[in-house]
Each structure stands twice: as structure tokens, then as C-alpha cells.
């Protein structure tokens, strides 16, 4: 049994996840800032974003990008190949192991947009967990909203947010399999399994091997992270 396809698949999944995680954390932090801001329409935008993407199955989001986007604007490939993501430097990262596949960009886009809603909720739950006396004390000292958030709330909030954020990232790792199964990324762990199994020569024995391979690939990423989070959570529970 050749192990190379699994290693390649693992690397592509990892690449997909790291790119989407960076995107989702950035976008999610931005949306969270919108959701707690003192200006009502900004709060509205943040809330609308979260409500929209939390209640939509990721499958539908991926369908929209992978099958809806190519129907648009056939002329200059702006949408069909998501070329607006071809930002210099970033575009080098967005070519998984040297291939240029638009579906990879769609997958990064949909995972980022979907996960950002959950990142926002995790950060907001962290902000809510800080006792209100802290913010009131800061306000009574005359700190403005930004100062309050930056010097008082955020340094405490991230500690509460880290465990929920971690579980969001774990969920995202697992969700990335969907991009391989449905979004047509191909070459990632799930896509590898799919293409290996559609091979007519594959028999019963290799089926189990394929599953052992991809399960191991995902478990290597998710289980240690989960155990780490449990540790952090227990430590936090004792400290509180």
C-alpha cells in the first residue's frame, strides 16, 4: 500500500485549514468588534452576518460557491475562478502543492466565511464572561469604548474565549472534509479517499486501509487539539 497519497492529502487538508483558520479568525474578530460596538447599524450588520451563517448548513454555503459562482460572469473569470483571491503573495499560498484549482479557493472562501460566524460567537462569549464590574470600573475611570475594550476587556476576554475558539477550529478541521467530499477540491484527505475508492480495482481489504489512512489523518489533527483544550479548560476551572 502506497502511503504517499495520504501524506499529500494530509498536507493539502492542513494547508486548507491553516488558510481558512487565519481568514476566519481575522474576519470573526472583525465581526465580533462590530457586534459589540456602540453604533447600532454596525451591531446590526454583525448580528445579521452571524444569524445568516450560523443557521445555514456549510453544505449550502459550499454549493453556493462551488456551483453558483461558476454560473456568474463567465467573461473575465472574476467569479468563475475566484480570481479576486489571487492577491500577490497570497496567491502562491492558494495553490495547493503547486496546482492551481479554483475549487481550492472556493473552499477557503466558504470555510472562512462560515467559520467566521462561529469565531465571532466564541469571542463574544469571552467578552460576556468578563464580569461587568470590570467594564463599569473602566468606564468610571473615563475610558472610552475602544480603550475599555483594548486595555480592560480584551486582555481578560481572550482567556475565556480560548477554549470555545479551539473547539471552533477543531470543528473547522472536520468541516474541511466537506470541501473534499462535495466542493470538488480533490487531493485533500477526503478527496483522496473518494478517488481511491472509485478506483474499480479497490477491493474490500484496501477499503479498510483507505479508511484507516484518512481516519488517522483527521484524528492526528483533532484528538491532540481536543485533549489540549480539555487540559486548558480543567486548569481554568481550578483557577476560577
Amino acid at each position: 500500500m502506497n502511503i504517499q497519497p495520504f501524506i499529500d492529502g494530509f498536507l493539502i487538508t492542513l494547508q486548507l485549514c491553516i488558510l481558512s483558520a487565519v481568514g476566519a479568525l481575522t474576519l470573526g474578530a472583525l465581526v465580533a468588534a462590530l457586534r459589540v460596538s456602540p453604533i447600532p447599524p454596525l451591531r446590526g450588520i454583525g448580528t445579521a452576518y452571524v444569524t445568516l451563517f450560523r443557521n445555514l448548513p456549510l453544505t449550502v454555503v459550499i454549493f453556493f460557491f462551488a456551483f453558483g459562482f461558476p454560473k456568474l460572469d463567465v467573461e473575465n473569470q472574476f467569479f468563475t475562478h475566484a480570481t479576486f483571491l489571487k492577491i500577490p503573495l497570497l496567491s502562491d499560498l492558494l495553490q495547493p502543492l503547486g496546482m492551481d484549482v479554483p475549487f481550492f479557493r472556493f473552499a477557503v472562501l466558504s470555510l472562512t466565511i462560515y467559520t467566521a460566524a462561529f469565531v465571532c460567537e466564541a469571542i463574544r462569549s469571552g467578552i460576556n464572561a468578563v464580569s461587568s464590574g470590570q467594564a463599569e470600573a473602566a468606564r468610571s475611570l473615563g475610558l472610552t469604548f475602544t480603550q475599555n475594550l483594548r486595555f480592560v476587556i480584551f486582555p481578560q476576554a481572550w482567556k475565556y474565549a480560548i477554549v470555545p475558539l479551539g473547539s471552533v477550529i477543531i470543528a473547522m478541521l472536520k468541516n474541511s472534509a466537506l470541501a473534499g467530499a462535495i466542493g470538488g477540491v480533490g487531493g485533500d484527505l477526503m478527496g483522496t479517499a473518494d478517488s481511491m475508492l472509485s478506483d474499480p480495482e479497490a477491493g474490500a481489504a484496501s477499503l479498510l486501509t483507505v479508511f484507516a489512512g484518512i481516519s488517522l489523518g483527521y484524528l492526528i489533527m483533532t484528538v491532540p487539539l481536543g485533549i489540549l483544550l480539555d487540559r486548558v479548560e480543567k486548569k481554568r476551572a481550578v483557577a476560577r
Binding site: 459589540v36 456602540p38 453604533i39 447600532p40 447599524p41 444569524t51 450560523r54 443557521n55 445555514l56 448548513p57 456549510l58 453544505t59 449550502v60 454549493f63 456551483f67 454560473k71 456568474l72 460572469d73 463567465v74 472574476f78 467569479f79 462560515y114 460567537e121 466564541a122 462569549s125 461587568s132 467594564a135 468606564r139 472610552t144 475599555n148 476587556i153 475565556y160 477554549v163 470555545p164 473547539s167 471552533v168 477543531i170 470543528a171 473547522m172 472536520k174 468541516n175 474541511s176 472534509a177 466537506l178 467530499a181 462535495i182 477526503m190 473518494d194 474490500a204 477499503l207 479508511f211 481516519s215 483527521y218 484524528l219 483533532t222 484528538v223 481536543g226 479548560e233 481554568r236 476551572a237
Partner: protein, 329 residues
């Protein structure tokens, strides 16, 4: 009114108004030129030409099958969509019921095993006591492995695994739905088991101490005292997980089960590339999912409020958020 900022003064109100108007303009411009224009008119040179073009997405040729009752395909499309949603609801209901039952079973088993851990069974003959201790250890290990394995695996992989491996060993269902239901149950029962376990862990120690002091056995204490309370405390998290199960039924694609999403994909492919109704179709499906899931999650918020009023101890904070953010996972 949040605790994070004061009631705005005159300057604050001015800034607020400016940002309000600015953000409304930015959002409107974004919606018009970022979403509407590319959809309505993909090929034109003028930026200000906003009327929907014939090759754009806002044509009756694309939307007619969904919104025009006079369209010849209207009735058929909605009939197929209705069948698709019915299939989605059936699969979701079955997966939810099975996940809850098996999840409660897993929680009971793991709590029971934890309760008898380290017990030496000195009142039994040596062979029986050794066997019982061995059974406890191996049961603990096996259930731990089972939980970690299925919790760590993407639900997509689980469904795919069920589909391919069961088919390999000749277990073939008439209805593809069962592959989806079994796959979802495998994953979600484990997650529900963990939710309930953390709910039981979060109970005050006095609960099981009181239970054993009135002479209840470990099993009785779990069944009669701890589990009912855990179910109530964790109700919001359980409802969130039910929303997750509902969302995950959209994975029917993998096992070629015709639920709502796959049905609509079939319809899109049926109408071909020329006037493809892809955007209207997926838009419709998205709206329906949002409405249903939003309703369900409002129910979660409502029960959370009811529970916090009724003097139950609150759920362990990190756990609730974790499961609400557990996403499609």
C-alpha cells in the same frame, strides 16, 4: 445598552450618526455593485447600468420555475422540492431520536463505569471479582476509544464510512436514507453523550452524596438523580446539537439520498447550463434552512431563559458555548 460604553454625548451622537449613514451607504453600495450587479448584468461596460440583463441571474427564465405559478415546470419543481424537504425532515427526525436514545445510553454507561471504577468486589469469589474488575477496565477503555474516535472524525467521513463499508459487507438498505441516519447517529450520539456527561459532572457533589446516603445504588443515583438534572441543565446545548443534526442532513449528497439540497441540485442539472436556475435554487434552499434553524435556535434561547428563571444551577459555561459553536462538525 451594553456595559462597555456610556450613553453617548452630543459628540458621540454626531459620530454615531455619521458612521450610521456611512455604513448604510457602504453596505448599499456593496450590495448593489458587489452582489446585485454581477448577478443581474455580467456583461456590460457601464457601471451605472443597473437594469437586469437577459444573460444575468434576475430573469424570469431562471426564477420562473420557482415563483411563477404559470410556468409549466412550477408545479413539478415545487412538488419535487416538497418531497425533498419531507425526506430531509424524516431523516432529521430519525437521526435526532436515535442520537438522543443512544447518546443517553452512552452517558449512562460511561457514568456507571466511572462510578464503579476502583471497586474491588471483595464480597465475591476471587475469580468473579477479577473478571468484574477486568470488565470495568476494558469497558472504560473501549467506551473512551469509541467516543474519542467518533468525536474526532468528520461526520462526512463517518457517513462515507458507513455507506461504503456496510455496502461492502452486503448490508444494503432499500432506502439510502438509512446510511445517512446511521452515520449521523454514530457521530451525534457520542456528542450528546458527552454533553450529558459534562452536565452530570457540573452538578454539585451534594447530589450524588445525598443519593448514596439514602441508599441508592450507583446506577439508581445516575438514573434517578443525576441524569434528569443533566438533561434539564443541558437542554439548550442539546437543542443546539439538534440544530446541528438538522443542518447535517444536507449531507445526503454523499450517500446519494435525495434530500432537499440534492433534489435541488438535480433540478438545477435538469434545466441545463443555458438558463441555469442554480442561484435561485440554492438561494431558496438557503432561506428555508435559515428560517428553520433560526426558529430552532430561538427555542434554545427561550428554554435557556426559562431554565435560568427556575432556579436550576447554570450549565458549566465553557461547555455550553463549546457545543453551541460545535457547528456542523
Amino acid at each position: 445598552m451594553s456595559v462597555l460604553y456610556d450613553v453617548p454625548g452630543p459628540r458621540g451622537r454626531l459620530i454615531s450618526w455619521i458612521v450610521t449613514i456611512g455604513s448604510i451607504l457602504v453596505v448599499a453600495a456593496g450590495l448593489i455593485w458587489g452582489v446585485y450587479r454581477p448577478l443581474a448584468k455580467p456583461v456590460t461596460d457601464s457601471m451605472w447600468d443597473l437594469a437586469p440583463g437577459p444573460e444575468g441571474q434576475f430573469t424570469m427564465a431562471r426564477w420562473g420555475i420557482l415563483i411563477d405559478p404559470n410556468n409549466e415546470s412550477f408545479g413539478l419543481v415545487w412538488q419535487r422540492l416538497g418531497e425533498g424537504w419531507l425526506a430531509t425532515f424524516t431523516a432529521a427526525a430519525l437521526a435526532i431520536v436515535f442520537s438522543l436514545i443512544i447518546g443517553i445510553g452512552i452517558a449512562l454507561l460511561r457514568a456507571q463505569l466511572r462510578g464503579v471504577r476502583g471497586r474491588r468486589y471483595t464480597n465475591r469469589p476471587p475469580v468473579a471479582s477479577a473478571l468484574l474488575r477486568f470488565a470495568t477496565y476494558s469497558g472504560t477503555g473501549a467506551s473512551r476509544f469509541w467516543v474519542e474516535f467518533f468525536r474526532g472524525l468528520p461526520v462526512v467521513v463517518t457517513i462515507f464510512l458507513v455507506y461504503r463499508i456496510l455496502a461492502q459487507y452486503g448490508l444494503d438498505f432499500e432506502d439510502q436514507m438509512w446510511f445517512l441516519v446511521i452515520g449521523l447517529t454514530l457521530y451525534n450520539s457520542v456528542v450528546i453523550g458527552e454533553i450529558l456527561r459534562s452536565g452530570m459532572d457540573g452538578l454539585p457533589h451534594g447530589q450524588h452524596e445525598a443519593a448514596s446516603s439514602v441508599g441508592l445504588s450507583i446506577g439508581q443515583s445516575i438514573r434517578l438523580v443525576q441524569l434528569p438534572q443533566a438533561l434539564r441543565i443541558m437542554l439548550p446545548a442539546l437543542i443546539s446539537q439538534i440544530v446541528v443534526i438538522f443542518k447535517d442532513t444536507s449531507l445526503g449528497q454523499i450517500v446519494s439520498f435525495d434530500e432537499a439540497l440534492r433534489t435541488s441540485r438535480g433540478i438545477v442539472e435538469f434545466f441545463g447550463a443555458a438558463d441555469s436556475p442554480a442561484i435561485p435554487m440554492y438561494f431558496m434552499i438557503g432561506v428555508m434552512y435559515i428560517v428553520i434553524c433560526y426558529g430552532l435556535s430561538k427555542l434554545a434561547v427561550y428554554t435557556e431563559r426559562r431554565l435560568s428563571r427556575s432556579g436550576m444551577p447554570p450549565a458549566p459555561p465553557a461547555m455550553v458555548t463549546m457545543d453551541q459553536t460545535g457547528a456542523i462538525s
